[in-house]
Symmetry: C2
Subunit: 539 residues, 2 copies
Amino acid sequence: MSIFQEGLSPNPVNHIALTPLSFIERTASVYPHYPAVIHGGIRRDWQQTYQRCRRLASALHGRGVNAGDTVAVMLPNIPAMLEAHFGVPMIGAVLNTLNVRLDAEAIAFMLNHGEARALITDREFHDVVREALTLIKRPILVIDVDDPEYGEGEAVSELDYESFLAEGDPDFDWHWPSDEWQAISLNYTSGTTGNPKGVVYHHRGAYLNALGNQATWGMGQHPVYLWTLPMFHCNGWCYPWTITAMAGVHVFLRRVDPQKILNLIHEHQVTHLCGAPIVLNALVNMPDSAKAAIDHPVKAMVAGAAPPAKIIGAVESMGIAVTHVYGLTEVYGPVTVCAWHDEWNALPLEERASLKSRQGVRYLTLEGVMVADSETLQPVARDGETIGEIFMRGNTVMKGYLKNPEATAEAFEGGWFHTGDLAVWHPNGYVEIRDRLKDIIISGGENISTIEVEDTLYKHPSVLEAAVVSRPDEKWGETPCAFITLKSGHQADDATIMQYCREHLAGFKVPKTVVFTELPKTSTGKIQKYVLRDWAKAL
Amino acid sequence: MSIFQEGLSPNPVNHIALTPLSFIERTASVYPHYPAVIHGGIRRDWQQTYQRCRRLASALHGRGVNAGDTVAVMLPNIPAMLEAHFGVPMIGAVLNTLNVRLDAEAIAFMLNHGEARALITDREFHDVVREALTLIKRPILVIDVDDPEYGEGEAVSELDYESFLAEGDPDFDWHWPSDEWQAISLNYTSGTTGNPKGVVYHHRGAYLNALGNQATWGMGQHPVYLWTLPMFHCNGWCYPWTITAMAGVHVFLRRVDPQKILNLIHEHQVTHLCGAPIVLNALVNMPDSAKAAIDHPVKAMVAGAAPPAKIIGAVESMGIAVTHVYGLTEVYGPVTVCAWHDEWNALPLEERASLKSRQGVRYLTLEGVMVADSETLQPVARDGETIGEIFMRGNTVMKGYLKNPEATAEAFEGGWFHTGDLAVWHPNGYVEIRDRLKDIIISGGENISTIEVEDTLYKHPSVLEAAVVSRPDEKWGETPCAFITLKSGHQADDATIMQYCREHLAGFKVPKTVVFTELPKTSTGKIQKYVLRDWAKAL
């Protein structure tokens, strides 16, 4: 034993569980009367918000919910959702945020698989929730949120959220987790095949990614954060904890509506927001008069798909500085960032946007990222051409999949987390996604990156949205099939589109099929490629 | 076992030692050609700096220095000191930064007590070091730094630092620490009585406090940091790691010189610096023409003593925004901050400065602070009047004192770290130091805060510096004794000073003795009160 170990073991003075619960205690203590919550006409400060979180913890505890129990929530972006991010773990319970766009069967599966003891639900989803509760065939504590900003729908139970909070003690003496490895939340992946997998987060990772977010953005005190990103998605990329740590303001938004987003940005002088490129695209396509509402600097963190070069350019010309990040449910949301180089500002917009569409480099709080061969885990050449799979390791990688040791072992095989995303590694170490492992098109033995084809399609002046998937083909094995939504008032046919692609892409990458349609999307704005693949097969 | 534990243990994919070594790997990879080091005419980028750190690690390894070994450094603020903060822990060794103002006996004590295997030393200290090496009576690897910015002095050994680096491999494959609890550094407290105590830091705490610094300052990417704070003091408050994490620039400064500081701030557009109030005081007392060099926003973090209200005001009028923090060697430097409230900006300067002189609230990365009774550990009333001792707990509290289980147990008694500092707790939760436990004056049964008396003295127009200590007194037990340095060209006598105090303080707080003199100071600019106490006794 070295002299630096002897008698120097961790003890309760110098080794305490890392937890984002620490953040709200501090912020409520230091800035009790600073604004915390803005939601429609509701205004609450940090003291009130902290008290509501403690009431929630106390009330759950009073109803028999204990450490290690699961509390599910079926909530849009409203204050109760923020409160659940603190109130539930305050009693050592685990927060299971359900995707509000799912159907009753999927919700029932999650409630049963996650063994939820309680469910907090918004009236908007009463149909689905009522059906799900029938399907789970066991009693569960259900608490209804009657959000004044919705004002419709029906209650599912007799227990109203505000009455429930009234049962709780605003000074409830919550307990610091004894172990930072303790679970804090459960997030089901959307799972396009088979049952969804339950991704388990722990306090340590939530604390670190929350700090990683603010370091990445160089976020000062008191950000004003607009909730354009669903909070049920990777716990809102840990921003419920980040914004609270920085004593900021949470500005809520039940549903993405570009006009409302512009209004809120203007009214509350919003400084930060996050979302999928689709959210930015919606803003870009608003009339100039509406876009003029942004008269101060706004920062947007974008992930979920590589934002097409064109959208980045258009958004930045609106005065929104875009930071492109990348992550997955399994890693608490964003964990890589396209870390910007000031000298790139001198490049033409097209080149800047192209650089910005890279997924970039690891967060300060993720310990490793590499692009490597999916089988051998040998890193690929950093040549910007060789395609490999993105692998990660670090303290913001999930504990694993709930009750699924096989999937967990598979995900962690070889000592790295397998993302399933295919990318190239540029000479400067920046990762750039080429495709999902299952999205790549192999046509006549050639790999086609659907993202590259989509990027080209987005540059066509009439294209509003585009997605490319593989279509089975007797001769080529697969061929690229493009689904396109045109801008309103624009016209184009498949021959025009193909000709445009031929001018900008290698011949084998040009879509052999072009379909004009609305694109199916997930609740987080991601285009549902598996639906499109089915469509392509059926053509 | 809960469902959230089963099969979900930490593994090498999702649980990796937190370490600040992670920062330099990332910064050198993402910003290899961004400036890292400015020192006189020396300019190095992050790739070069990282390679030099790896060379250092490799060369130490080649000379038989192993994990758990101690490497001492006797260095001013020069690039080699930064390199040691990474190169030494890269091989699992422990960095012992020696206070360059100490004498040979103290240095010898530390080299022996810390069991140093190697010493990296600057020529400026060749006399002391040579004598210390004689005293330790055992062979030790000595490496001499011949800093071109010094250009004098003599070598102590034949081994030159640059030649030593040349022995090392710039691509040395350093190993991530296997355990974040592993020691990273050893800092001896100045110990006014008895032998100095060796404070042991670990990788986890260094990582967290480095991030805590950045969050507290809302520090964006690429800060330009001027090294006015000695890097041997609490590892430069963890800023060697913070600035590296943020891909900033380290601007070095061998010796505090107000004109040089102003020149460097101007020339390199310095954004951040740290130091004791004495550093700011030196800037304030420069002629206006010199002060005009600061033509851009500069942020200063100040600690080491409560900055007198007057200094805060004067510095801010120079365009330097002051953040007041507080900490001790035992907690990695600053761990509380006088977190500012925007509404305080509307207050008169005097009130603002008075608020800013509070030590404040815990960092995001410290888990707990309280003011409590020294014996019972019962928190005192938050009334801004009741004096208690400051206690801390959290992940940035030291592992303990090296080879000193008694002192460690005493420091951690009752589950909190005992700071030995006396403070009041304001109703808003902000801590304000009244005195060191051993500095408080008890006169006729009344407690006198020497800081309060000093604050009054500093307001006198002729006072440049002031320090108050207790003087034994037959009648009163103790009485306040003031040591004062007057501004050049000013005159005052003891009667004037006492009269001034009588107008601003309760009668029993007025110094009964006033001595005009130069004040003895530590190398970090702290006034040496134990020397003054001896002087007062001898009066």
